[in-house]
Assembly symmetry: C2
Homo-oligomer: 338 residues x 2
């Protein structure tokens, strides 16, 4: 993986305590990869001192004096914090010193900065947020998850292209299947935008499966799930809420008394394996797609293992030419419809 | 519960085998309630013979010669099957012989027939589908779940009124809290329709909580969750898909080998209690609200226990004056905004 990843070390709930060890673990696993740690030198130094050296020129530091707050308004972060770790990390992608940036900071600010610094690709009106979700068969990529709340059919088509190329780059699937999230499998159902989007996707040359419903996400019916950012965000948050509720219920039932606790202990190996299969940390790293550069957003509360997955996804996307794949595909579609 | 419920005995995947025993169980529990079984006499007779008598005049039969197919187009069911069990059950509500109708048949056909026969209430543009979902704290009612895919702010306001009155009638909560499903808690987020709806709900006199996100459904943040039918349907189906996937994963992990099977056996009492808490059968019975009569839709695959819950919800709504509550509330709002 011959790639350099710029790491916003200050973003997220934990900062360097998580981001630096995660970067170390990533570099230890991928011997060709390089990383640039971006952040306040004092904060990085102590974290670096703890992990020690050993990576030579593969690991470097880029100072940045400011930090974007987790609740800071995106416009503010963009205009008045030009030396924030988030901004500098994205700048490194723009200048070509890095091929991808990863941040666990404020999603809105990361999207605003990335869009301003990197710009969108030709033919792409709006970037989208794409994340991976576990399914019965493996995993699927869902987009958009909240960057765009009022989408046209053309936007949904573009999401389909970006999602398919993302899966091709990261999961090495040649022609990923693309499903359009709707409320009925028959073409007759759904709102007008979705109906038009289905037509566009059908003529796009993508491996378009057709309409799918909410339960198809977890059935793993398609490799890519395309939807409006409002719908995608509700589906994602609903999923998170349900998993939390079920986890609470399981803990409550097993914690009810000494007998149920004994049962939990007896079933622990199985419960652990079950937990691992749906461990959200494994699915960490949402791609901001449609930009002239790879940017990946980690969950703010990510631990080192989770953040490492986000770095891995960013590196994989960059080294497998995500940007070129999307550009080429958009150009080909332009030609075919002209 | 001084109420008569018309039961479409032929609808659903199972027909009288499920609907008749469910009605019997309902009547056995509520000694003031009455039921009218609607369907093909030959089919009902054999089911009735099995359960025996004992309900006297509380249980009667209304013949209907036709059955609406589960995949039949709604327009077809409405126009050419005027003697279907579904249609006759709704007609009984219209004529006043019953105060509520319950059917496990085709949702689209039930909505079309109910709308045509009963008409919408004054001030209500479109009926909605409202269903109950389990939460950490108890339960919440979500609407719309798919009857309306392109909603205006006024529609969402009306859903708020209908949902609040439904919860007041069935759950006996005086001023149910109403949340508006959005993608951020700040008023600034969301699309234009949702922003306008928030304004309308704020001035409605309802107990409006404000914006909520997908995870708030299962946190039980509000008693009512208002959303567009497209969003609600995706959230509902996503939930169903996730629960199925997690169930599959649990079974797979516990069924892996003889040791894990022994663990499952050891943990069985706890797993059963857990399963009971999220048992979808307990939450069966979606109300078609906004009509001049109570109509409840049961899941097509409901068993007798689940179908009985749907009958109970219908009877509870009718005996607690759901229709009058919605009418009064709409009239009061009209006065206040005039």
């Amino acid at each position: 993986m011959d790639v350099t990843v710029a790491i916003d070390c200050m973003g997220g709930d934990h900062g360097p305590v998580v981001t630096v060890p995660a970067t170390q673990a990533f570099l230890a696993q991928f011997r060709d990869a390089r990383a640039i740690l971006v952040g306040r030198p004092d904060a990085l130094e102590s974290a670096l001192a703890q992990i020690g050296g050993g990576f030579g020129e593969r690991l470097s530091v880029q100072p940045a004096s400011e930090v974007v707050g987790m609740d800071e308004p995106p416009a503010n972060a963009m205009r008045s914090k030009k030396d924030s770790s988030m901004r500098v990390a994205v700048d490194l992608v723009k200048s070509g010193r890095a091929q991808a940036a990863v941040s666990a900071g404020n999603t809105g600010a990361l999207m605003a900065i990335s869009r301003f610094v990197l710009k969108t690709l030709p033919g792409i009106d709006r970037p989208a947020i794409a994340s991976v979700m576990p399914t019965r068969k493996g995993q699927t990529y869902v987009l958009d998850l909240g960057a765009n709340v009022d989408c046209t059919a053309e936007h949904l088509l573009q999401f389909g292209v970006m999602g398919a190329m993302l899966v091709a780059a990261i999961e090495h699937i040649d022609r990923p299947s693309v499903g359009l999230l709707n409320i009925g499998e028959e073409a007759i159902k759904g709102n007008d935008v979705v109906k038009q989007a289905a037509e566009l996707l059908r003529r796009s040359g993508l491996n378009f499966y057709g309409n799918i419903e909410g339960d198809d996400i977890f059935k793993g019916t398609t490799d890519v799930v395309v939807c409006d950012g409002f719908v995608g965000n509700v589906a994602l948050k609903t999923t998170e809420g349900l998993v939390q509720m079920l986890g609470t219920f399981l803990r409550e039932e097993f914690g009810r008394n000494v007998f149920t606790k004994a049962m939990a202990l007896a079933a622990l190996p199985v419960l652990k394996r079950f937990k691992h299969r749906i461990d959200h940390r494994r699915y960490n790293g949402a791609a901001l797609v449609g930009l002239r550069g790879v940017v990946v957003k980690s969950h703010g509360s990510a631990d080192a293992y989770a953040f490492e997955q986000a770095i891995f996804r960013a590196a994989e996307a960059a080294s497998n030419r995500l940007i070129e794949r999307i550009s080429d595909r958009m150009a080909a579609m332009d030609g075919s419809t002209a």
